[in-house]
Amino acid sequence: MEIKVLGISGSPHRHGNTETLLDSFLDGAKSAGAVVEKVVLKELSYTPCRGCNACHKNGECIVKDDAINLYEKILASDCLAVASPIYTMGITAEIKGFIDRQQYLWARKFILKTLYFSDVHIKRHKGIFISTAGLGWKNVFDGAFPVITALFNTTGFEYYDNVIANDMDRYGGINRHPTALKEAFEKGQKVVSILEKLGTS
């Protein structure tokens, strides 16, 4: 059985701390036999949500761009790893712009009731948040969690785990962090073996 793992990198900065941590997670997933794909948001072309609420009527976004294609890809994945560095106590504007575009799926779920995820489906779809922050504060990720929760809830993923590392400024980057890359790799392996046991829906 093939487990599809999709990684989304939301940093404007290529191959920085957060993307490196995501890569390690995806390497772990691949080593466990998953089919892995990484999408870099910076390379896509999409605009933030316009808040027009047109999707509340028919469940379709009036803006046709890469964001919609990526949501289709998310819905076809078994595991979703969403990666963003912390900027100003939240996720980046790029990934927030992408997440806000999920409104058409939210409308299908809660207004039109044409999209439904069973408890079994949600259990078999695992969402992981991957993040790094320059600051060492314990609460530095707190503003990001609810937004990531909203993404996983709307797309039918269980918010399974975080791979997060703060204090990057002090460590001098993710490669000097004592445990984060190893933890990411192991979590990538583990989630694939759990999904294999659960079986895909």
């Binding site: 933030p48 027009c52 100003t88 504007a93 790029e94 609460n139 503003g143 937004v147 709307t154």
Partner: protein, 204 residues
């Protein structure tokens, strides 16, 4: 010298709930003749997201040339900076997050280069106002946005005690805020109180 108010209308939807809330605050402020208001809809502001290049840590300016060139100076000049945003997916609208992240140049100036943001005689005299609306009725719906808002104000030298908040949940469709029992009265009161406080601080 007039009292200078700089207001960012952050919603991509023009004249929706968060902008209406802002307009009520601005209307009550504008009743005072000494007040000069500038309102910027972010849909027209041409502000790109931060690239995370950290060049501002050495250059003391952003390497991007866009609308922020103008708003950088206006943020320094204003006596009161108002930020309005709807809540999308439990956070600030992406357009507002882009503005907030571009304040990184002030963060570098203040904390890395240890340079002043405003001249010493204006320090501690400015106020910030965060206005927000959310469709959800949950009382915690604004919680994830607030840390980013605080950060934005801190780096432009407005401390926690100088930030005012008016956040209205349970308003979704356009115009819903018109039917809210207290929003308009609270917005008018906030506008008036802010001007009174600024006059005191500025010896006007």
């Amino acid at each position: 010298m007039p009292i200078r108010i700089l207001a960012f209308a952050g919603s991509p939807r023009r004249h929706g709930n968060s902008e209406t809330l802002l307009d009520w605050v601005l209307a009550s402020m504008s009743e005072d003749q000494d007040v000069k208001i500038e309102k910027i809809p972010l849909t027209e502001a041409d502000i790109n997201p931060c690239r995370g290049c950290n060049a501002c840590e050495t250059l003391n300016k952003c390497i991007q040339r866009d609308g922020m060139d103008i708003y950088h100076d206006k943020i320094i000049e204003a006596d009161c900076i108002i930020l309005s945003s709807p809540i999308f997916c439990m956070g600030l609208a992406a357009q507002v997050k882009a503005l907030v992240d571009r304040a990184q140049v002030f963060r570098s100036r203040k904390y890395v280069l240890k340079l002043p943001i405003v001249p010493p005689e204006r320090k501690g005299k400015r106020l910030g106002i965060f206005l927000s609306t959310a469709g959800q009725t949950w009382d915690y719906v604004f919680d994830a946005a607030i840390p980013s808002v605080k950060c934005f104000y801190h780096v432009i030298d407005i401390k926690d005690a100088d930030i005012r908040y008016l956040m209205i949940n349970g308003v979704d469709e356009k115009g819903a805020i018109d039917h809210h029992p207290t929003a308009k009265a609270d917005a008018i009161k906030l506008g008036k109180n802010t001007i009174t406080e600024l006059k005191k601080r500025l010896d006007l």
